[in-house]
């Protein structure tokens, strides 16, 4: 064995900041969260908000279909060659955390084929509150929950809610109809997350994805600084 050997020429292994040709790779942001919380809708809204100013691409991780990728294609948020679906063998959290090889491959292929890219959004398959991304796959992660999933989720915590770089509490427009207490959700999230940011968002209202898009812009600025 030659563990002192350094990787040369050929492609990066995982989170290396440079590509094989020495150029800086795209910033990778992961979006995770329970089924139906609005991950794909948030990705679509981010694409619409950022596609004029950034070169971007999306990797989706559906559990058993290409549904999320097809939604993005149907909505035409990006040209089809900028959207790739990864199959996860019934284990969406494995593909973003324990064995990230298929996702890394998808990200690198996108950079090779449609690059250079500024940003790759990696959307996880809808999973549970314990799903988090490997730091070998993404540079930052967003966890998306929604008010209709129960206003006790921020209090229950878990690695997604507690440690994600950004927590989105989505579908705030539905709060009055499902009896969710937004102030309580915000306070519980604050308690679980300390200084980490939380955005309460409704994609159907005027502000839309604006605040999250600004957070992404900040990340891009830090990455390219």
């Amino acid at each position: 064995m030659h563990l002192d050997h350094h990787l040369e020429s050929s492609a990066a292994v995982s989170a290396d900041a440079r590509r094989a040709d020495g150029s800086r790779r795209a910033l990778r942001i992961g979006l995770g969260g329970p089924v139906g919380s609005g991950k794909t809708a948030t990705v679509a809204a981010l694409c619409r908000a950022l596609r004029e100013e950034l070169s971007l691409a999306v990797v989706t991780n559906d559990i058993y279909t290409r549904e999320d990728a097809e939604f993005l294609l149907r909505e035409a948020v990006l040209p089809p060659e900028r959207i790739t679906a990864v199959e996860t063998g019934a284990c969406p959290h494995t593909a973003i955390r324990d064995d990230i090889s298929a996702n890394l491959e998808a990200v690198e292929d996108l950079e090779d084929e449609v690059g250079p890219l500024d940003l790759v959004l990696v959307e996880s398959g809808g999973d549970n509150l314990t799903a988090t991304f490997s730091r070998g796959l993404v540079d930052a992660q967003v966890f998306v929950i929604d008010v209709a999933g129960g206003d006790d989720i921020p209090r229950k915590g878990g690695p997604g809610v507690a440690t994600a770089d950004l927590l989105i509490v989505n579908k705030t427009d539905l709060a009055p109809y499902v009896g969710s207490d937004l102030a309580r959700m915000a306070a519980d999230a604050k308690a679980a997350r300390g200084e980490l940011p939380v955005v309460l968002q409704s994609l159907r209202s005027e502000g839309g994805v604006g605040e999250v898009a600004d957070w992404v812009r900040g990340r891009i600025a830090a990455w390219t600084a």
């Binding site: 990230i100 090889s101 298929a102």
Partner: protein
Amino acid sequence: MTRAALLVLADGRFPAGGHAHSGGAEAAVRAGRITDAASLEAFCRGRLHTSGVVAACVAAAAALGVDPGELNRAADARTPSPALRVAARRLGRQLMRAARATWPSAELDALAALFPKGAHQPVVLGLAARAAGLGPLDAAYCSLYEGVSGPATAVVRLLGLDPFDATGVLARLSDEMDRVAQEAVETGERVVTDGVDVLPARSAPLLEIGAEAHAAWAVRLFAS
């Protein structure tokens, strides 16, 4: 050789992409050919003695230092289904990444430069074994074990099969895996002297046909 390195390489949690593949089990479940532990065992035994032994021979030959380009062509010729060739290269590419990060070696770097989009998984497996300080028998065992443990794990997810029953299937195949692994090493040694044409070309038509049908499904849990 180090026995612990063999455990690292053979571990189902080794992050080389295998978790997303069923080794043809998803197609066989849908077709009604796997319904319980007994039919899973028959399926795994069939794989072991067809595509399994071919893959193990390729892996053993690669571990013995046979030219990976020639082995890759030989593997192509022994894999009629385009969908299976795509899956084998994809898994080879993913294993290449994991192996290079785990056991950096000039041979693996050269392979990655030659096949940036992936060589057949058993070819990469053989070179990964070399890089890990393992031999052809180890490579053959890893290949054979993956070939049956993948379907067994997949069937637990697909059918809700009792995981103890699925593991029992693997245990009952142990003696046969021992014999096939020995055979693979002997074949690998013959490849060194006589070339890749002495590799076996056994195949399972239903695995090939099932893989083509599966690749066209709109809704599936596994990539292959």
